[in-house]
């Protein structure tokens, strides 16, 4: 055997090596004949002839062999597909659904979770929070001076910037139009690494106080306001009483901080009103220097902050920082939902796979005769397995092509259904997705094709059968039943998940929020943070609007609130009660600012004391909820206590408790009410939420309300008019979408499992025709045949169901954070799943069992 060692070091092209060897041997022969070495080599080269040509010819031999085998397999695969159109269509459709759904979910994961943010080196971007080190205030926004300090002193970040948003009215047209503005700290575009598509970035003098007014506008706003005209660059926007030159237009996909922002304007750090270190303005973002990791950047900013703490004992010494990747703050919890869906849809694909494997097993068993003949004609097992596999690959590729269509449809549906999810607009089909789908198809083909192909081509089994004219496959066939059982198991797992989510969504629908959202319309009126220089004016402006609304016919009440009730938001704050601060018993509350009339408009019951009145200089009226009164104020004698914020603030609050109100789910419908205080002040910010209670359908009042506000405030725009119930429902978009999709997958899964059960049982019935015929002819009661088949199907379903429940119990742990009002081990759900599954399994088994039991024995035996 020493003559045939495997040589692994084939540095050169093996054909070239073989030719070179041949020439060397010719040279050696020539030398042996007495030529001198140079002459010998020259002659050999001449004698050998066109060396390159030989190489080319040899290569063509191999290429054409490859092409030939490819052609053969393609042709045989096509013949196979066309010959059994029903079977092929079933497989292609199953795969199209399986691969399509999988691809669709993967495209969402790819766009939202995996791909970096749509900025150059997006993974270098971080969000920086400031926290009150004693946890007395939940505000994380940063004063302009501190932002500038961070930028100057940080060594790990190449730049720090930030933004806050204003909702304004643009007045150059006939009617005021709402415009959403991001006021940005210096270096905003540099940190994001984006340049305007047209025009230029802010010049240094435009970022200084008193410099020229300049704005950048979004692509969409450019289209909407200027119809995409390049002349926009020399135009001006009138915002309030100021004129701003449009200096640049941002690229189409640029939507930071969010898709609502239409214009960006500088917020100069040297402005006199921007000097206080206890201001809380900016959402801060930074870019790490290349090669710096997030923990390093976090440590760096923390060090910088502690140095600032030494310099400014108040407030910097009491602040800590938190630095996290910007992407995680944008994607947030959606990643969890998406991975959950991806897991589910992959289980679905596995079910589809085992379904197809079972179909293929049955088919290869029917083809035993054909395979035996091919063996006897000298085909090798490898060739036959390859042929069987290529048939499956052909089917899988067709399935994947159809699946891409499914995924494209799903992507469109996703834009409609999930438009509010972060980065939803980035979900699209691209080459990555097509490649993924192709990989999926090949993987699927191997997974479901390899085993049947190997099993069907076992020589011992096949050759013995070649002589017989009748095929006689084993009727026990444990493999087929294992596959069906696996499908049932996976389907039950999915059903458990879907059942839990459905029950949770149902529980959410029955939550009593503690306020009445019906017949309440919400809206906002544009304003600017700049107005807060004169808070009294803002307050009287808002009260004037409220009074105007209250006198409108059909309106039962009107109020403002800083945050909408029932929409996830929380603002934890530590309080001093009656001037005392007990370090052992901290008084923490969710602080909400509402106008007088709020509890009446929302029908929150007043339990004790009286409704609040508008603030008088220096003090607020405060209402507390029942939880707060019971926990901190000793129950009903709450009125008269004095509450102050414990943390130093540029906006000190001193409030007198006037009354106790019922607990309401202010912080979100899924949150049990926590201790809450309501400070009565109509102008928590320049553009609070207005809540107007009306008779009848809220949206029918929308026009009247809009007109009334226009009469009162002709230079302001009214926006975001919608029923409060819409907000509450929108807050569950992700929850509903996730539940809907998982339910869809589970229904598909159980349908596939039933098809598998039905198909396998039918096949068994066909194989056992003769046996059943004989038994019937010998007088066996039909009923026994029927129950025999039925029992066979149900037994597999029951075993699969038990395994599925076990798997469901394990996997449902991942759902825990997404469930509301139902445990992940909810017995009702599990029992329901079992009942449903056994019911459909019985239905799927009944038809094949009946067919077997009502066989005509004469007919079968005659055919034999």
């Amino acid at each position: 055997m020493s003559l045939w060692p495997r040589k692994s070091s084939r540095v050169r092209d093996p054909i070239e090596r073989e030719i070179a060897d041949h020439i060397e041997r010719m040279v050696a022969a020539n030398i042996a004949r007495g030529m001198d070495p140079d002459e010998a080599r020259r002659r050999a080269l001449i004698d050998f002839g066109g060396r390159e040509q030989v190489r080319q010819q040899v290569r063509e031999v191999h290429l054409s062999a490859l092409a030939e085998s490819l052609r053969f397999h393609t042709r045989s695969a096509l013949r196979f597909i066309v010959k059994a159109p029903g079977f092929s269509l079933a497989v292609i459709l199953t795969l199209a659904l399986g691969i399509g759904a999988n691809t669709a979910v993967f495209s969402a994961i790819d766009a939202i979770v995996l791909r970096p943010l749509p900025f150059p080196h997006g993974n270098e971007l971080v969000r920086i929070y400031q926290h009150d080190s004693k946890g007395r205030d939940a505000n994380t926004f940063v004063a302009p001076q501190r932002l500038e300090d961070w930028n100057r002193m940080s060594t790990a970040l190449s730049g720090v910037t930030g933004y806050y948003k204003d909702d304004l009215a643009e007045l150059s047209g006939p009617l005021p139009e709402r415009v959403t503005e991001a006021l940005v700290a210096p270096r905003f575009l540099q940190v994001l690494g984006v340049a305007p598509m047209l025009g230029r970035n802010f010049a240094p003098e435009e970022e200084r106080f008193g410099g020229p007014n300049a704005v950048l506008i979004s692509y969409d706003y450019w289209q909407q306001k200027f119809h995409g005209d390049r002349d926009a660059l020399n135009r001006k926007l009138q915002i309030g009483s100021w004129f701003y030159s449009v200096i640049g237009i941002m690229p189409r996909g640029f939507q930071y901080p969010d898709r609502e922002v239409q214009i960006w304007a500088p917020s100069p750090p040297d402005a006199p009103y921007a000097q206080r270190r206890d201001e809380t303005w900016f959402t801060v973002i930074g870019r790490m220097k290349p090669g710096v990791a997030v923990p390093q950047a976090a440590a760096d900013i923390a060090t910088v902050q502690s140095r600032l703490g030494k310099q400014f004992s108040k407030p910097d010494a009491e602040l800590t920082t938190e630095t996290v990747p910007l992407k995680s703050t944008i994607v947030g919890d959606s990643a969890h939902s998406l991975w959950l869906l991806y897991g589910s849809v992959s289980l679905l694909l596995l079910i589809a796979c085992s379904n197809i494997a079972a179909l293929l097993l049955a088919r290869t068993a029917e083809r035993e005769h054909e395979i035996a003949i091919r063996y006897s004609l000298g085909a090798s097992r490898r060739t036959i397995v390859l042929q069987l596999l290529s048939e499956v690959v052909g089917l899988a590729l067709l399935g994947a092509a159809a699946g891409l269509g499914v995924a494209a449809g799903a992507a469109r549906a996703f834009h409609l259904l999930a438009g509010r999810l972060p980065r939803a607009e980035e979900v699209s089909l691209n080459w990555t997705i097509a490649g993924y789908s192709l990989t999926c198809a090949l993987f699927t083909a191997l997974l479901c094709g390899l085993f049947p192909a190997l099993k069907g081509t076992r020589r011992g089994l096949v050759q013995g059968l070649a002589s017989g004219s009748r095929t006689q496959a084993s009727t026990r066939n444990p493999m087929q039943w294992t596959l069906v059982g696996a499908q049932v198991t996976l389907a039950v797992t999915l059903l458990v998940g879907a059942g839990l989510l459905l029950r949770s969504l149902d529980a959410l629908g029955h939550v009593s929020p503690g306020f009445d959202p019906e017949h309440v319309i919400t809206l906002q009126v544009s304003g600017s943070w700049g107005e807060t220089a004169n808070m009294a004016a803002v307050n009287s402006r808002i009260n004037r609007t409220l009074d105007g609304l209250r006198t409108l016919p059909g309106v039962d009440g009107a109020a403002t609130a800083a945050m909408l009730p029932g929409v996830s938001s929380k603002y934890q704050m530590e309080l001093k009660v009656d001037g005392r601060l007990d370090p052992n018993r901290r008084v923490m509350a969710d602080a909400r600012t509402v106008s007088p009339g709020y509890i009446e408009s929302l029908r929150i019951p007043l339990l004790a004391g009286q409704d609040c009145k508008e603030a008088s200089p220096g003090t607020f009226d405060v209402l507390v909820n029942r939880s707060f009164a019971n926990l901190y104020l000793g129950g009903s004698a709450a009125a008269g206590h004095i509450l102050e914020n414990a943390a130093p603030s540029n906006f000190p609050m001193k409030g007198i408790v006037r009354g106790i109100v019922g607990d309401a789910r202010e912080q979100g419908l899924t949150e049990t009410p926590s201790p809450t205080i309501y400070s009565c002040f109509s102008a928590p910010n320049p553009f609070p939420n207005y809540l107007v209670r009306v008779h009848g359908d809220p949206m029918q009042m929308a026009d009247a309300i809009r007109r009334r506000i226009h009469e009162l405030e002709p230079a302001r725009s009214v926006y975001a008019i919608m029923p409060l119930e819409q907000h509450l429902s929108d807050a569950f978009t992700e929850n509903r979408l996730r539940t809907m999709l998982l339910t869809l997958f589970a229904v598909t899964a159980i349908s596939l499992a039933c098809i598998g059960l039905y198909g396998t049982l039918s096949y068994m019935g066909r194989l056992r025709q003769r046996e059943v015929g004989v038994r019937l002819a010998l007088g066996a009661p039909r009923q026994r045949i029927l129950t025999g088949f039925l029992f066979q199907g149900l037994r597999v379903a029951a075993v699969g169901c038990a395994a599925g429940l076990a798997l469901g119990i394990v996997l449902s742990r991942f759902l825990r954070g997404m469930l509301y009002g139902v445990s992940n081990l909810d017995p009702v759900t599990y029992a329901g799943v079992v009942a449903l599954l056994l019911l459909v399994a019985a239905m799927a088994s009944l038809a094949p069992a009946l067919r077997a039991a009502f066989l005509q024995p004469i007919k079968v035996l005659r055919e034999e």
């Binding site: 020493s2 003559l3 045939w4 060692p5 495997r6 040589k7 084939r10 093996p14 054909i15 090596r17 073989e18 030719i19 060897d21 041949h22 060397e24 041997r25 010719m26 050696a28 050998f48 002839g49 066109g50 040509q53 030989v54 010819q57 040899v58 063509e60 031999v61 191999h62 062999a65 000298g378």
Partner: protein, 112 residues
Amino acid sequence: MTPMEKTDLLQGTLDLLILKVVAFGPVHGYGIAQRIRQISNDVLQVQQGSLYPALHRLEERGWLAADWGESDNGRQARFYKLSAKGRRQLAAEEKSWNRLSEAVQLILNTAQ
């Protein structure tokens, strides 16, 4: 006698000659060409331009197996040997060649 050119060989004849030569034992391409020449007394000289495509074609069909090995002079060479399938093919082709040449001989004899 002048050597015959490649074009003078009947289609398929070269394949038969290669299979026959390789049947004696593992041999490299140069060796095959040499043996064909020697055994035919220099009548048949196979051109490299036909030899190598033919060898690789026979390999693709599974009649020859090839692998790198060390030859007598210590050089690495690609050795060809006959597969089981090739052996059957050789037997079949020898048989049909013999029938063909007998038939041709018969006609030539009768015509004389």
